[in-house]
Amino acid sequence: MSDPKGSEAPSLAERLDRQVHAVEGGLVTGALLVMALTYFLTIVYREMRAETSAFDRLFLDLFFGFGTVQEAKDAPEVLARVKNVVTPLILGAFTFGMAILAVRTRERVDLEPGAEPPPVRWGRRLGLAAVSTAVAYGALKVIEVTPARVLCLVALLAMLGPAVVITWRRRALGGLAGAALGGGLMAWFFATKVEQAYLWSAELSSVLLMYVGFIGASMATRERRHIRVDFVRKNVPPRFLNLYNALGGLVTVLFIVFLLVLATQYLSSQMGHGSMLQATGLPEYAVSLPIALALVLMAVRFAGQALADLRGFLRGEVPAPTGPEIH
């Protein structure tokens, strides 16, 4: 299922593979955004709700020499002052300062190199910075007081909306399907498994990592981007490169099929157990499912590529040289 390089119309299998690739793209994009978002929400929620936040502890140590929170608890008035005055003041001032600089950068971002910047309008700049600071603080407060279920569903909708618009505009139906599938599953998870807090977020990220990683591996197969030790390949005469690739692909297919058999066996045994993950309440097989799915896709893709390479060899074609893989 390699990308057609010639002028031939893509076959049905190639078109199907392209759509599957687009679905995969939609899924991993959504999964990565959800991972980053929920991790971020967790950190904010934890720090906003904590009796003493990480910043409180830092300032207690920095300004008052309390190495531990326990020491500070012996001086409750200091603790209260840091928590209610020092920390908000310093963080507020820092955010305001950075917001002023952000507004300044935004004002100058479209300037041509060497062009004279427009005169500074301090009132506008300070006003926008104050609004930005207030918005930032308001957002933190919203995260603190809003139940995780509601916030996550709202955030999911906020991400899905633009995704649907973008994919629809591009007529990228595969991407749209991926976004809809991933979004639907996440919406189900947030609606049914999540309540007030974020105890589940690390586990959810780890589960999603498996989907991102293995779907990513499947996508890397389509793009022929798996890491290889290729010093032999570089010395193969161009005429035989397609045959060489086909042989390598065949061995790879065998290995993947072997893994697939193991994965299927493991998956079915986990499905039989019916046990659940502790923090998310998801079935345990949700972790091994992407392995099996990705291995199926990888096996098909490697087989397709091996076949295409073999055909190329028989036709006497020479594959195009590739550049170094950047990691």
């Binding site: 890491i227 030790v229 390949r233 072997f258 950047i326």
Partner: protein, 580 residues
């Protein structure tokens, strides 16, 4: 392949003894896969399968798929990856790097670096180094640093009158700082694999340890560039220009500060820092710099997923190989073999450097870490090396590997992206290789460079002496029975890795690793007895195997790893420890 395994099963039914010609099989599989140009995950996976086939742990194991998975349950190892919170940091840092690299950050960094260093002798070269260091701290990738900073600085250096050789060599070499200056993905992978080999490494410690060597290499490169760039015309210093470019680049410059500062001050751990860096990168590039549009995000994220996928699958199969080495006590055997040479810490790291430099010439950095860390980290631990220090030795060695032919990645990147001949790039890089080799020696023999900053943070002595001249001893002096019920025993090998809350559970040098303990006959006997007790009447009782020749386990009996993951077992172990 499966049918092939079934065919060989008859030969393996008798006992769990090494297969005749097993060594030949392993070498043949390894060479065959390399020669066929199979992807790296297939090479490592095939090697692992060959190892388990040639040296099975349990007899009668290859007559069925179930029997095979008793020896080698790779999928289970893959699934355990989901229990590693630190793994999540890898895609997060990839995304943040990709977002920031797409934006206008490189130009801002270069402008600021020029304003600060441009007036010094070799000013433009110094600016290049500074820009590479800052960009490396954002992108975490050497080749990306070479391309992004090089695209701006190489033409500028040549136009300003610097020799092209100097520019090409500098860009190619300074780009390698990408993996030393945190955040660094190879460091995360090192931490995971060193920890799986029983040398618990905290990623935050490793990140902080990268700062010293990064600055050292930067300074050495700068010294050379000052010497070479003396005759070139330079700019006048302008305080207002420094202030101007600083303010223009403040958000770009502040991101590494947020990440490293946050980790150093204990505000968040590495994984949290990674998640925060994604959010910050999005805010900076979407809202402040406006250099990417929302509809570009799917491409960036998909690209990160593909990179993640190509690395993750290698890590997964490599866990199987690490497991084989742990089960078969390969590191202890190597230690036993090396002990005959009476290696001291000094000679050990000398040999290690030679080995890693050779490996760096032939292997991709991720593969090298995955394959060699589980082998070398326990040995280094035996000799009294801090695993964080060993990590930096690894990273600096493999950083040099980016520049050494025949497979130095940065050489190819410079050759293809800047359209230079391969020979010219190698000649240009040669003097910088000497500088990097010198810094490697300093990092190797002065542990303070790596460990000093972390020690300051932890209120320990800044100065760390090189490990005492003790001679390597075999690892097989098992722990006393009363030492076995350690906290670490409550964890399985993969869980015992990184304490994500920042508290470093690094074992003291000389302590036994989890794997060592798991191999201890007494320990295994105890585990099997406990498992048999816990199974009740429903499962056949696991046989207690007399050592040193274990009998085959009956079907249905759990492996030690299974038992260790059993909640009942863990509870029991905790209770026993509390009772003690």
């Amino acid at each position: 392949m499966l049918s092939g395994l079934s065919l060989t099963s008859g030969a393996m039914l008798a006992a769990a003894e090494p297969m005749a010609g097993g060594g030949v099989l392993i070498v043949a599989v390894l060479l065959g896969l390399i020669l066929l140009g199979a992807p790296l995950f297939v090479i490592i996976g095939g090697l692992t399968v060959a190892c388990f086939v040639a040296f099975p742990e349990f007899a009668a194991a290859f007559d069925s798929l179930e029997g095979f998975t008793r020896n080698f349950n790779l999928i289970e190892r893959m699934v355990e990856l989901a229990e590693q919170p630190t793994m999540v940091a890898i895609p997060f840092f990839m995304i943040a790097g990709a977002i920031m690299s797409r934006g206008a950050i490189a130009r801002r960094l270069v402008d600021f670096a020029n304003a600060v260093f441009g007036w010094l002798p070799g000013g433009l070269a110094l600016s290049t180094i500074a820009a590479c260091m800052f960009f490396a701290a954002i992108s975490g990738s050497s080749p990306v640093t070479v391309i992004t900073i090089g695209a701006i600085m190489l033409p500028a250096m040549v136009a300003a009158g610097y020799k092209e050789n100097l520019g090409v060599g500098l860009i190619t070499s300074a780009g390698t700082l990408g993996i030393i200056i945190p955040p660094s993905i190879p460091m995360i992978i090192y931490a995971i694999f060193a920890s799986s080999a029983g040398q618990s490494v905290n990623i935050e410690d490793l990140f902080i340890a990268g700062i010293g060597p990064g600055i050292l290499i930067g300074l050495l490169l700068a010294g050379y560039c000052i010497l070479k760039g003396r005759g070139v015309a330079r700019e006048r210093f302008s305080g207002s220009k420094v202030a101007q470019t600083f303010l223009d680049g403040i958000w770009s410059l502040s991101l590494p500060g947020f990440i490293l500062g946050g980790i150093y001050l204990g505000l968040f751990n590495a994984t949290e820092a990674a998640a925060i860096s994604v959010v910050l990168a999005l805010v900076i590039e979407l809202l402040i710099h406006k250099s990417i549009k929302p509809d570009e995000l799917p491409k960036i994220l998909t690209e990160s997923a593909v990179l993640m996928g190509s690395i993750l699958i290698i890590i997964c199969v490599a866990f199987g190989f690490s497991e084989f080495m742990a089960i078969k006590q390969i590191p202890s055997q190597i230690v036993g073999w090396l002990a005959e040479w009476e290696l001291t810490p000094f000679t050990f790291v000398l040999l290690l450097n030679v080995l890693l430099l050779l490996v760096g010439c032939l292997m991709d950095i991720i593969s090298a870490i995955i394959l060699f860390v589980p082998l070398i980290a326990p040995i280094a631990g035996q000799l009294g090396f801090d695993p964080v220090h060993v990590g930096l030795i690894f990273i600096v060695n493999l950083e040099i590997g980016y520049l050494t032919p025949p497979l130095g990645l940065n050489l190819f990147v410079t050759t293809s992206y800047f359209n230079k001949s391969f020979g010219m790039v190698i000649r240009s890089v040669a003097p910088f290789l000497l500088i990097l080799a010198s810094s490697l020696m300093i990092v190797t023999y002065v542990p303070t460079i790596s460990l000093g900053l972390g020690n300051l943070k932890a209120d320990r002595d800044f100065w760390v002496p090189f490990p005492e001249s003790r001679v390597l001893k075999p690892l097989d002096d098992g722990p006393a029975e009363d030492e076995l019920l350690d906290d670490d025993l409550l964890l399985d090998p993969l869980e015992a890795q990184i304490d994500d809350d920042g508290a470093s559970p690094t074992p003291k040098q000389g302590e036994d690793t989890i794997q060592d303990m798991m191999q201890d006959p007494e320990y295994r006997k105890l585990m099997q007895e406990m498992a048999a007790d816990g199974e009740g009447d429903e499962e056949p009782e696991a046989e207690v195997e007399p050592e040193p020749e274990p009998e085959p386990e009956p079907a249905g009996a759990e492996t030690i790893q299974d038992m260790m993951k059993d909640p009942e077992y863990r509870k029991l172990m905790r209770e026993m420890q509390q009772a003690e």
